[in-house]
């Protein structure tokens, strides 16, 4: 009978000792949560490893996605600090399949276990299905591969567009920034890719993208001091200034011109033509 009383006391004693020793022990480095501020999108698992995918929102959306990755050893639940990894997103269409523009995956600066990259999904099915993501990675000179289906949700605005230029090339253009638009002059960044074939997309260099932001809800009101987007070779993207005079729904009317200033896609906005055929949307 006495055990009934002693056991809890013992438990409490042990637990409290453990707690106090934890608090007092400053030799162990504190556990840093390397994915703080990020939300898990999903885990992709094979027998040995689990690949964890993170983003700020916790979802894949059409358009530009910044993705953080880490690989967990399923045997001891630790994360690898050193590996090389590549990926391949594939959209399965009824008659064919294709990929989309994506970056290489590199180690996140200042992190031990987290790697990062980006993918620009140019489309999705209405139910979010159709895409699979394959990872090929190497840990300690052993190659692994892993594939799983993913869900890509249609973003509410057109933040990516796929179009045929007058040069008969197919392009994909995605809005990278501003991520948090302000009533101000925002820095606007756009990624521009040429579809070389179904599986390969290359960065288009040294073209020009003209910008004319408009608010269709306000009689196609525009804003001053916008600048055309020009190519930045360091980042491999196009950058310009985007003035937003108020919050709300904006249509960013664009015109793509090659190095010879030949218009490949898009028209100037006029009273008769309220919107360019090449545009992105933004809402805040």
């Amino acid at each position: 009978m006495k055990l009934k009383y002693i056991l809890p006391i013992l438990f409490i004693a042990i637990l409290s000792t453990a707690c106090s020793s934890d608090d007092d022990n400053n030799d162990n480095p504190p556990v840093i949560n390397e994915v703080e501020g990020l939300t898990k999108i999903q885990d992709i698992t094979n027998n040995t490893h689990t690949i964890e995918l993170y983003s700020e929102s916790g979802y894949f959306y059409t358009g530009y996605n910044e993705i953080s990755i880490r690989i967990k050893d399923n045997t001891n639940n630790t994360f690898f600090e050193d590996f090389s990894i590549g990926w391949m997103p594939i959209m399965q269409m009824p008659t064919m399949q294709h990929s989309c523009p994506y970056s290489t995956i590199t180690k996140t600066p200042g992190k031990d276990t987290v790697y990062q990259g980006n993918i620009i999904y140019q489309m999705t099915n209405t139910d979010g299905s159709g895409w699979t993501l394959t990872f090929n990675y190497t840990i300690d000179n052993v190659d692994y591969s892993i594939t799983d289906t993913i869900t890509v949700i249609q973003y509410e605005n057109q933040n990516v567009t796929s179009f045929m230029g007058s040069d008969n090339s197919r392009y994909i253009m995605a809005l990278l920034e501003p991520k948090d638009p302000k009533i101000a002059i925002n820095t606007m960044k756009v990624g521009l890719y040429r579809m070389e074939n179904m599986m390969s997309f290359s960065v288009v260099e040294d073209y020009t993208i003209t910008l004319d932001p408009r608010m269709p809800g306000m009689g196609n009101h525009s804003s001053p001091n916008n600048t055309d987007l020009t190519y930045r070779s360091v980042e491999g993207i196009y950058q310009g200034n985007l003035s937003l005079t108020m919050t709300g729904y904006w249509v960013l009317n664009l015109k793509l011109m090659d190095t010879m200033d030949t218009v490949l896609k898009g028209e100037t906005v006029t009273d008769e033509n309220p919107q360019s055929s090449l545009y992105l949307e933004l809402e805040f």
Binding site: K182, I183, A184, I185, M215, G217, M218, G219, N220, H221, S222, S223, P224, N225, S243, L244, T245, M246, T247, G248, Y249, E283, F284
Partner: protein, 666 residues
């Protein structure tokens, strides 16, 4: 030296130097504003006091130099010398207070009522700088002086009714005056439906409703020291603005002050008055009553002001000195939220006044020096430091869209001088004055963000880089008395340097749907405004008198375009019959054709008009109490007209029968 320079400059304009003496006040007696005692030369307004319950707006309009810009039947904006509120300094008993509406729908005169005030002091040009910097002049709405004459309880009750718009007003005033303390409480309520213009045409959205409560009290600390405190609460709801695309669902002000007054006749310092004050205004514009708008929007605005002044009067020999040190801190914030017709799109938001903080401190000094018995010279000067800061980061970034290098604060140094020379003889009097003054741009002129102006149908963007507006002025006023006949002339000339006005920027796209474009406030290198009035009066008998005024105004900018809102040729003729207990007057009031209208600034020509008014008054004494009846007909002929100052040419009231009754119990 300054005086000499100014004189030279004025002379160079090759102008006959007209000047005016316009330091006149409209004063009410202790009951209501039923009798007007005028200090100064012009007694014209004396006869024009038709209603005991008229609004402040009606009162102000009686002055030659003041015209009210009307956007509806409520909250008219005063202009003086053809200059609107941004060029004037309008104060309540020396307190700075700023409207919270970006579209000038709440001039501060709309936040007080006649029941709060004792008199209105109107000073033209640089003579109006006692309370702040201005170009056009100063209007100070003065609250009653404290009194400790032990008259005990006194009350009065007012009722008013007007047929046009079914306008009802009721007022109650209670006052207790002891030997050591006094307290005065009053309330007034006004409600009007839509009014009808001449020809029985209903003007939709011209209704209004408001009430105003005020409490003022004072305590006599010692023979020479008095403390006073006052609170005014004014709330208008459901105010329609037929000339504008939006109405006002709420315009609310709380105006508070505490004052210490020292008075002593035997010391050099005759009086020293120090006041601390705080006022807060909330103004909510909305369009929920308008059936057909391009887009729904809300436009609330807030304005809070903290301030003080300390005013001393001294008499030293022949010098009459006045010093006034004052300061204020104002916060003006206004925003706009628009709701797209496509409900899938999010609401659109912007700061139209991005939380602008204005800090001002200044000093004013005036010396009136009696040269000899009938000649006086007075000199006044004001120096001030003025600073604007954009407190809202979002607001700074919004304005940086237009001014990428804009910093969040801007300081200015302002100054003002004036000198006046007066002669008073038995048969004539004359006053000459010259002045120089500067003003800082208003919040809208400096920092407004897409403020829509329905007058010229343009969106306005403020310009934080504007230079101070500077004005040189010359005034003359003279009166001649011949037996029962009096004739007077008054004129002013303003040469305004860096005149602030909107300039079309064709590169910018309008925000407001269907607006013509965008204007940015900019400076014209100069603008000239001239006004002249000829007043005459003939006393036929003790009871009968006739008087008349004609006026002419013009204004031109350095771009050789007419300035907008310049009064055309105007006239007024009146026949008065006044006995002790009865008075009657018939009045003809009109304007000539507005030939010098400013098409360049979006104005159109306003046709000439003339209206006829009749007003009558009776006074009855019943033991200790008194009944004052005022009644009459305005616009007897039911003329359909609008004046040059009626926003978007909205027609003014047609025929109106009115009656005001005031019952005073001592």
């Amino acid at each position: 030296m300054i005086k000499a320079t100014l004189c030279c400059v004025c002379f160079l304009f090759g102008l006959t130097l007209y000047a005016q003496e316009d330091t006149y006040t409209i004063e009410k007696d202790t009951t209501k504003l039923e009798e007007v005692i005028l200090i100064g030369q012009r007694k014209l307004s004396n006869y024009r006091q038709e209603k005991t319950l008229s609004s402040i707006d009606d009162y102000l309009e009686k002055s030659n130099r003041i015209t009210m810009i009307k956007r509806g039947n409520y909250a008219w904006e005063p202009t003086m010398n053809n200059m609107a509120s941004q060029r004037l300094v309008v104060t309540i008993d020396g307190m700075q207070i700023f409207g919270a509406c970006t579209d000038k729908m709440d001039p501060i005169t709309s936040y007080v009522d006649v029941s709060n005030l004792e008199k209105v002091s109107v000073d033209s040009g640089q003579e109006g700088t006692e309370n702040g910097h201005c170009v056009g002049g100063g209007i100070d709405l003065k609250m009653p002086q404290s009194k400790f004459n032990g008259t005990g309880l006194k009350s009065s009750f007012d009722l008013g009714y007007e047929t046009n718009g079914n306008y009802k007003s009721v007022g109650l005033d209670l006052e207790y005056t002891g030997n050591k303390f006094y307290v005065n409480a009053d309330g007034i309520f006004r409600k009007s439906n839509n009014y009808h213009a001449g020809g029985n045409k209903e003007i939709l959205y011209s209704q209004f409703q408001k009430y105003n409560i005020s409490v003022q009290g004072g305590y006599k600390l010692s023979e020479n020291n008095v403390i006073d405190a006052s609170v005014i609460y004014d709330k208008a709801t459901d105010v329609g603005y037929p000339a504008l695309p939006m109405d006002v669902s709420l315009a609310k002000a709380l105006i508070t002050s505490a004052t210490h007054t020292f008075k002593n006749n035997s010391t050099t310092i005759k009086s020293l008055e120090t006041k601390f004050y705080y006022n807060t205004i909330t103004h909510i514009m909305d369009d929920s009553k308008r059936p057909d708008v391009p887009i729904r929007m809300d436009m609330p605005g807030w304005s809070d002001t903290y301030g003080f002044y300390s005013k001393a009067t001294l008499i030293e020999g022949k010098h009459n000195l006045l010093f006034n040190v004052n300061g204020f801190y104002n916060r003006s914030l206004a925003e706009m939220t628009m709701y797209p017709n496509n409900s899938n799109q999010p609401a659109m938001f912007m700061y139209t006044w991005p939380d602008i903080r204005t800090l001002y401190t200044g000093i004013y000094a005036k010396d009136a020096f009696a040269l000899i018995k009938d000649k006086t010279v007075s000199v006044s000067a004001r120096f001030g430091y003025h600073q604007n800061t954009i407190a809202e980061e979002v607001g700074l970034e919004s304005l940086q869209i237009f001014y990428p290098n804009l910093s969040d604060s801007k300081s200015r140094f302002l100054m003002s001088f004036s000198t006046n020379y007066q002669i008073k003889k038995e048969k004539h009097d004359a006053a000459f004055s010259v002045g120089y003054g500067e003003r800082a741009p208003s919040v809208s002129e400096g920092y407004g963000f897409f403020l829509y102006n329905s007058f010229d149908n343009f969106d306005y963007i403020g310009n934080p880089t504007l230079k101070n507006e500077k004005a040189l002025e010359a005034n003359v006023a003279t009166n001649y008395y011949l037996n029962k006949f009096k004739i007077g002339l008054e004129a002013s000339y303003f040469y305004i340097i860096d005149y602030i006005i909107g300039e079309i920027n064709p590169d910018l796209s309008a925000m407001t749907i269907e607006a013509n474009g965008v204007k940015i406030y900019n400076s014209l290198s100069n603008a000239r405004i001239f006004d002249i009035y000829l007043n005459s009066e003939y006393n036929i008998s003790k009871a009968f008198s006739v008087n008349g005024t004609i006026g002419y105004n013009c204004g031109k900018g350095s771009n050789n375009e007419n300035l907008p809102l310049i009064k055309p040729f105007s006239y007024l003729a009146e026949v008065n019959y006044t006995r002790e207990f009865f008075n009657a007057a018939i009045q003809l009031n009109g304007n000539g054709n507005q030939t010098n209208y400013s098409s360049f600034y979006g104005e159109n020509e306003t046709a000439s008009f003339a209206i006829l008014n009749l007003n009558l008054g009776n006074m009855f004494y019943l033991k200790d109490s008194k009944l004052v009846l005022k009644y009459g007909i305005e616009n007897i002929l039911d003329t359909n007209y609008s004046t040059y100052a009626d926003w978007n040419n909205i027609p003014q009231q047609g025929r109106n029968f009115y009656i005001n009754a005031s019952f005073v119990i001592n």
